[in-house]
Symmetry: D2
Subunit: 140 residues, 4 copies
């Protein structure tokens, strides 16, 4: 099975920093979301696409580990990797590196499920995700 990964570089904004002068821990959930966006763009699995297929994909679990602080104006890179599961879920792993030294700053993962537009949980994989997996995960 192929490994699907995206990455994105970003710079710490003034509004993301707290009174200790480091990035507020809550800002990392935003970086993770930006990474999912980036992944969705590259692999055709954005929120809008999922929505157009008739589904929501809300988070049911989010885990973050903070290794080193980031400061205002620091440059960083976030890597997102698709973690395969047979369940009707989307799991992503994240790593944030400071730049240019490439030290690990934070790691984490997120788990999403699928709801239909009436907010019913999908126990079975929505067909469009089956197709997506066939397209993107199969070794050719």
């Amino acid at each position: 099975m192929k490994v699907l990964k995206s990455q994105k570089e970003f710079e710490i904004r003034f509004s993301e920093v707290d009174s200790m002068g480091i990035v507020w821990h809550g800002s990392y959930s935003l970086y993770f979301e930006d990474a999912r966006e980036q992944f969705g763009k590259e692999y055709n699995l954005g929120y809008l696409y999922i929505f157009e297929q008739g589904f929501y994909a809300p988070l049911v679990e989010l885990h973050l580990e903070y290794k080193k602080p980031l400061k205002y104006k620091d440059k960083a890179r976030i890597e997102i990797a698709y973690r395969h599961t047979d369940a009707a879920k989307l799991i992503f792993d994240y790593k944030i590196y400071s730049l240019p030294d490439n030290n690990i700053v934070a790691t984490g993962y997120s788990i999403q499920v699928f709801l239909d537009k009436s907010f019913n949980l999908m126990w079975d994989l929505p067909p469009f995700i089956k197709e997506w997996r066939d397209t993107y995960l199969r070794d050719k």
Copy 2:
């Protein structure tokens, strides 16, 4: 015409403070929104009520003046006052005071218009707002 006012006390949260140790200027738009909520609750003009009448009331103008900084854990009070206009608009004036000294910390105003659910601008006052004004503004 009666003067309609609400007020609310609040405490500065850690996440609202920037690396200078004072409340980030962008947080004040949140305090203003909280004040509109409070007003909506007291005078039956909340977002949900407006929505149930078939309308949105988005901001078209927001003005903020910052007089003194607020710090983490400071206590403050926000006052919101309805400013009458004959136009199909909602205008509110805001004053934020530090506590317990009651010094003015910030002032501002906001202007909202009415859109129907198809996002068309209402040039005439929606009937439910006419009724609202009759109920709340008329001196008895």
Copy 3:
């Protein structure tokens, strides 16, 4: 050993809700922080107090599980419980309930470490925390 718990009721703000009409997952890290504030207030362990003792207590781990969505204007209650550890860490467990039905909406935990003002990690428990534990955790 005593069980230390705090709780706080809150109402969902307009700005915390996303385009699905439910609370954006990132907003929960703010609710957790509010709960830590509440705990700090009741048990004399607020950020400012920790800071005055010469330390920071940044998060090194944050875990969130989302069970049910919260919507704009929903009322909720967050419970925070101190989880004892012998390590030089602060661990808290969180439960968010919707009101008035008291259904579990989200759970999670956070882990904090202690840094001195030069951002050095404290491997041993800072003395003021030892005293705090003696004061608050000891059965009398």
Copy 4:
């Protein structure tokens, strides 16, 4: 006198959109801040540079006008222009355009003053700003 302008393109993030499906009005103060960053980078007047000269430059006034809504995934461009004043202030004007149609979405301005590290207001222009004006505003 020369006209100093910067601009930046950006895409609307999921977290910036409210339950009406449009960008929450409070998010615009973040776009303005991003534009100031961009300006600071191009014209050597970033927050960190100001800080290193011994000053803060907090906002004392912020004005926003919302002309058209932006939606999730919309692309936009923000333009920031330095507005000259003889006073010890920094004034910027902002215009946000939707892309690719280049319609005006929002406008506004911000006013900043200078404080020294003890939070005293500078009535006279700090020397480093005098030099900056000489360097960047003078027609050669």
